[in-house]
């Protein structure tokens, strides 16, 4: 059945192709009928929505920008951004796990894996048969990902890994992982390599799971390597290139976090508009008060601007043009728009917005992640400035 939400998809106001608009409608139907009804529950319980991910696999949503020959849908990055956006509009947690799986696991396997690795691993994750997780962050290496302490030593035909990774999205539900480790003590970031490994890798285990502020329906956890044995053929791409690969991966990932922010912000506007029309004070709907109208107008303008930034970065990527700066701009702006929109949505809901009876407090907690994950807002500003100063 058709969804009842505010953007008219039959209208081509974003310069989208017919296919892109049809994908949006399809994902929206799925989001409203399957994802939204579970959103409050998975937020409350921190339960990972396994069934939803099975359904997404069946629908072909877990490998959208990956070529069909490797189990993906073979669609462009705009379609992928639209998918993340539409799901985030109703449940940011589900969208975050989808985005981490797709942009942080499927894409590096597709971009940097050799044919055998693609056949063995990419086909599994892109088709959604199994979920993927991406391990970069460590207790002492967050924004400074080059400070990786996890070590990999070559012994015979194996790489032996020791160390840990924290805050890893999908950690406890993934079967296939990509992670970085130092293969050389010297050489700085050129001493970092990337590896692919499976859940049942000897010496690999999962550590404790922290309680989260938001994005609670998205799984995360700790990866622990204690003499973990990874076959030598599981080195991703070339030795010493891991840091570069992972940074490139984040360039793409940031477009999807931007889309996540746009989705959250749009969801906030949807809810705020509906509430403002229904809630009566002083004998009329609060939507008749100019103070409320101005908040709604500001939200709409910022969402529109953020969406343009996200789609623009995606278009540049689809066209094979440089997009790193634009991806950071889209991520930075859309994340901050999401937080502002969520704040306003709670404000418009008043005391009810502060309760768990309305979804806007969840949006506020979820939105904050966008300003932290895949590079904090500060790191985005640094990346953007670096691009500017290099020009």
């Amino acid at each position: 059945m058709s969804a009842t939400m505010t953007i008219d998809v039959s209208e081509d106001k974003w310069g989208l192709t017919e296919e892109q608009r049809m994908i949006r409608q399809m994902v929206r139907d799925f989001a409203v009928s399957v994802v939204e009804p579970k959103a409050a529950h998975i937020d409350k319980t921190q339960e990972f929505p396994v069934e939803t991910f099975k359904e997404m696999a069946e629908l072909g949503l877990l490998g959208i920008p990956i070529p069909e020959q490797y189990g993906g849908a073979g669609l462009d990055y705009i379609c992928y951004a639209i998918t993340v956006e539409e799901i985030a509009r109703v449940c940011a947690s589900t969208a975050l796990s989808l985005a981490a799986h797709t942009s942080l696991v499927c894409l590096p396997l597709s971009n940097f894996g050799n044919e055998a690795q693609k056949q063995k691993y990419l086909t599994q994750v892109a088709s959604g048969k199994v979920l993927g997780a991406y391990g970069l962050t460590e207790p002492n290496a967050g924004s400074d990902a080059g400070g990786t302490e996890t070590r990999a030593e070559k012994k015979g035909d194996k790489w032996i890994l020791n160390g840990s990774k924290i805050f890893i999205t999908n950690a406890n539900y993934a079967q296939i992982y990509v992670a970085t480790a130092k293969t050389s003590k010297e050489m700085g970031t050129k001493g970092i390599s990337a590896f692919i490994f499976e859940r049942n890798t000897p010496g690999f285990s999962l550590g404790p799971k922290d309680e989260k502020l938001g994005m609670r329906g998205s799984d995360w956890g700790t990866l622990i390597f204690e003499d973990a044995e990874i076959p030598e053929e599981n080195l991703l791409g070339e030795l010493g290139q891991g840091f570069k690969y992972f940074m490139k991966t984040l360039d793409s990932g940031r477009i999807s976090i931007g889309a996540l922010g746009v989705g959250i912000a749009q969801g906030c506007l949807d809810k705020a508009l509906q509430y403002a029309k229904e809630r009566k004070q002083f004998g009329r709907a609060i939507s008749e008060f100019q103070a409320i109208q101005f908040m709604l107008a500001d939200m709409a303008v910022e969402i529109e601007a953020a969406r343009h930034l996200v789609y623009n970065a995606a278009r540049l990527r689809d066209a094979g043009m440089p997009y790193g700066k634009e991806a950071s701009m889209a991520k930075l702006f859309a994340s901050e728009v999401a937080s502002r929109a969520a704040n306003k949505a709670v404000q418009i809901h008043g005391g009810y917005g502060y309760t768990k009876d309305f979804p806007v407090e969840r949006y506020l907690r979820d939105a904050k992640l966008c300003e932290i994950g895949e590079g904090t807002s500060e790191i985005q500003r640094m990346v953007i400035a670096r691009h500017l100063l290099q020009q």
Partner: protein
């Protein structure tokens, strides 16, 4: 097994608004597949999947933009689709629509074994297009179905929901069944389905290609005509009786019923 599903594009009632003069606000008009047709497509796809080698064809009669619902049918699992569209078809009532559909099926889909339609369309709610189509084709038909299963190449078992309860019938094919809300929901198309829908050419059959003369179709070919449409007046809110004092409440109720001349 050759299955045809007839679908209709209707305004999305979830979005409809009326302006201050009680006229439909044009900007609120968004078109979707009639919800009962979605169940018909879902049922048809299930029959196709259960019967290997079947082909599912979706057709609709409507303006050029009605192609959208055919795309949705393809995305859900139909193999091909045809749009019946012509200026001359404008204003067709249920009779004329059923006639045009029957002529298209006779001429272009002659080996059809089974036709499914939605029981009603949410815009007209006539519920007679299906039975009329069956009459024009000389096929048996069954209305108010919520489940259908093929027993053999020529026997279909269908469950009908009626005021009397559930009725299970067998129908000899070729035949027509009209689908209600089912116990299962229409599927959400997969990405592959959406891509197939977008890439599938949808041919148009017009009056000339179907050999239909203009006076047999559209307004001219329609025995019924709409005399007047109006909006149902909004129901006034009822009265609430405070039940804390039962005696007072009862006498208030009795007064009210007397006033209304019910007692």
């Amino acid at each position: 097994m050759n299955i045809v599903v007839c679908v209709k594009q209707v305004p999305d009632t979830a979005h409809l608004r009326f302006d201050s003069n009680d006229q439909l606000a044009q900007e609120s008009l968004e078109n979707v597949m009639n919800p009962f047709c979605e169940y018909a497509v879902e049922t048809a796809v299930r029959l196709k999947e259960a019967h290997e080698g079947s082909k599912l064809t979706a057709i609709t009669m409507g303006p050029p933009q009605a192609k959208e619902v055919l795309k949705r049918a393809i995305a859900m699992g139909a193999d091909e689709a045809f749009l019946l569209s012509d200026e001359a078809f404008t204003g067709s009532d249920a009779w004329s629509t059923a006639f045009i559909l029957s002529e298209a099926i006779k001429k272009n889909l002659p080996s059809t074994d089974l036709i499914l339609l939605g029981q009603f369309a949410t815009d007209g709610m006539s519920g007679v297009t299906g039975p009329a189509l069956a009459e024009f084709l000389g096929f048996p038909s069954m209305t108010f179905c919520k489940k259908a299963e093929l027993k053999s190449d020529t026997i279909l078992e269908a469950h009908r929901e009626t005021e009397r309860g559930l009725e299970i019938y067998e129908i000899t094919l070729p035949g027509v069944i009209c689908i209600m809300k089912c116990d299962y929901e229409p599927r959400i198309p997969s990405i592959k389905g959406v891509m197939k829908a977008n890439r599938t050419e949808i041919p148009v059959w017009d009056a000339a290609s179907l050999g239909l003369s203009a006076d047999k179709v559209g307004l001219k070919g329609s025995p019924t005509m709409v005399a007047k449409t109006w909006r149902k007046p909004k129901k006034e809110g009822g009265i609430k009786v405070d039940g804390s004092d039962p005696q007072a409440a009862v006498s208030q109720l009795i007064d009210f019923l007397r006033q209304q001349k019910v007692m």
